[in-house]
């Protein structure tokens, strides 16, 4: 009963959706050979390199692998600190 309610309210609790979500991550890792640990490291290094040239909002930096079909793309979202934001602190 509670499993059924779970499913009605939250499809992500079915074992099939769990399998799918897990497989998405596993396949990205298998295809790219990039673990989340390496991604974190990459992020830190990117922050290091870029902030040498321009001031960035380090806390808001996001790096992820996006997929289109069987193609993987590394997407880095690196917000720059604007002059206005800098003045506000």
């Amino acid at each position: 009963m509670s499993r059924l309610m779970d499913r009605l309210l939250n499809r992500s609790s079915s074992s099939a959706s769990q399998a799918k979500e897990r497989m998405k991550l596993v396949l990205v890792h298998d295809r790219t050979n990039l673990s989340s640990k390496v991604l974190e490291q990459l992020k830190d290094e990117l922050i290091g390199v870029i902030s040498r040239h321009v001031e960035i909002d380090e806390q808001a930096v996001r790096i992820e692998i996006s997929q289109q079909g069987r193609e993987q793309r590394l997407i880095a979202d690196i917000p720059l600190r604007t002059v206005a934001r800098r003045r506000l602190g």
């Binding site: 009963m1 059924l4 499913r7 009605l8 499809r11 079915s14 074992s15 099939a16 959706s17 399998a19 799918k20 897990r22 497989m23 998405k24 596993v26 396949l27 298998d30 295809r31 997929q67 079909g69 069987r70």
Partner: protein, 267 residues
């Protein structure tokens, strides 16, 4: 027109390569095409028993490659179908007895005489797989809706793409609609989204597959079986016909779940 060489592979073992090879080949042969199947699973041959031809083996693939017989002599003709042949694997040797270039040479010899050459690949990503894929014009990746089979299929797809063998096509085998409906099995759409290659066919789990394999008669020759129909549909698609994919399950939307909830008595 020279034959198309079609390799059936999977990565993970036991997902249905041999069953699919036998049945798609039989379906094509039943519709009048001239077809030969090569069992490339040296040391673990099975295509002979699935096709019901195990009692007629004299020579095998390794005998051909090592020059102990002519190609013709190793081809066993299936008497139930006008033009279906099998080249069996050797049972007492291992995969290293054959090389990828042996396979290419063999298939080049077969091409002018046939419409289709099917190669049943062994599981794994080693020599046996390399042998099977080397001569392929079309590669088929078969998987089950289950995490380890999907993961291995993805590996294989990557390897086939790296070999520049053209985009492989996907068969999803042993789908259990009831489990999919309950959310306890990956649906065909899920698998397709994960693997992101072109779909060639969907095959339901079907006891008739095991029963017909017991008898050594491909299920594709059984007009009533669902899996048999699914294999015939694949054969038609390979011939270039547009055949809709077999309906596996209802979408299992909100309403149908409510309905099944009430049917179960609300417990």
């Amino acid at each position: 027109m020279p034959a198309k060489v079609l390799t059936v592979t999977s990565g993970k073992g036991g997902v249905g390569k041999t069953t699919a090879t036998a049945n798609i080949a039989a379906a094509l042969a039943a519709s009048g095409a001239k077809v030969v199947c090569i069992d490339a699973d040296i040391g673990l041959r099975n295509l002979d028993v699935v096709l019901g031809l195990e009692n007629r083996i004299v020579y095998d693939l390794v005998d051909v490659v090592e020059g102990r017989c002519r190609l013709r002599q190793a081809m066993i003709r299936d008497k139930r179908l006008p033009e279906l042949y099998l080249i069996p694997a050797a049972q007492t040797r291992d995969k290293s007895a054959v090389s990828p270039s042996d396979m290419v040479r063999l298939c080049d010899e077969l091409r002018p005489e046939f419409d289709w050459v099917f190669i049943d690949s062994p599981a794994g990503i080693e020599r046996g797989f390399r042998n099977a894929i080397a001569p392929a014009d079309i590669s088929i990746v078969i998987t089950n809706p289950e995490v380890s089979a999907v993961r291995d299929a993805d590996r294989i797809i990557g390897l086939i793409e790296a070999e520049e063998k053209g985009p492989p096509r996907l068969i999803i085998n042993r789908i259990k609609p009831e489990m999919v409906k309950k959310g306890d099995m990956l649906s065909a759409d899920d698998v397709l989204e994960l693997l992101a290659i072109e779909l060639l066919g969907l095959i339901p789990e079907d006891e008739e597959v095991i029963i017909s394999t017991n008898r050594g008669v491909p299920v594709a020759l059984d007009g009533k079986s669902r899996a048999g129909q699914a294999f015939r549909n694949i054969a038609s698609r390979l011939r270039g016909e547009q055949v809709p994919f077999m309906e596996m399950e209802e979408p299992g939307g909100f309403l149908s779940q409510i309905r099944s909830f009430w049917r179960k008595g609300g417990g």
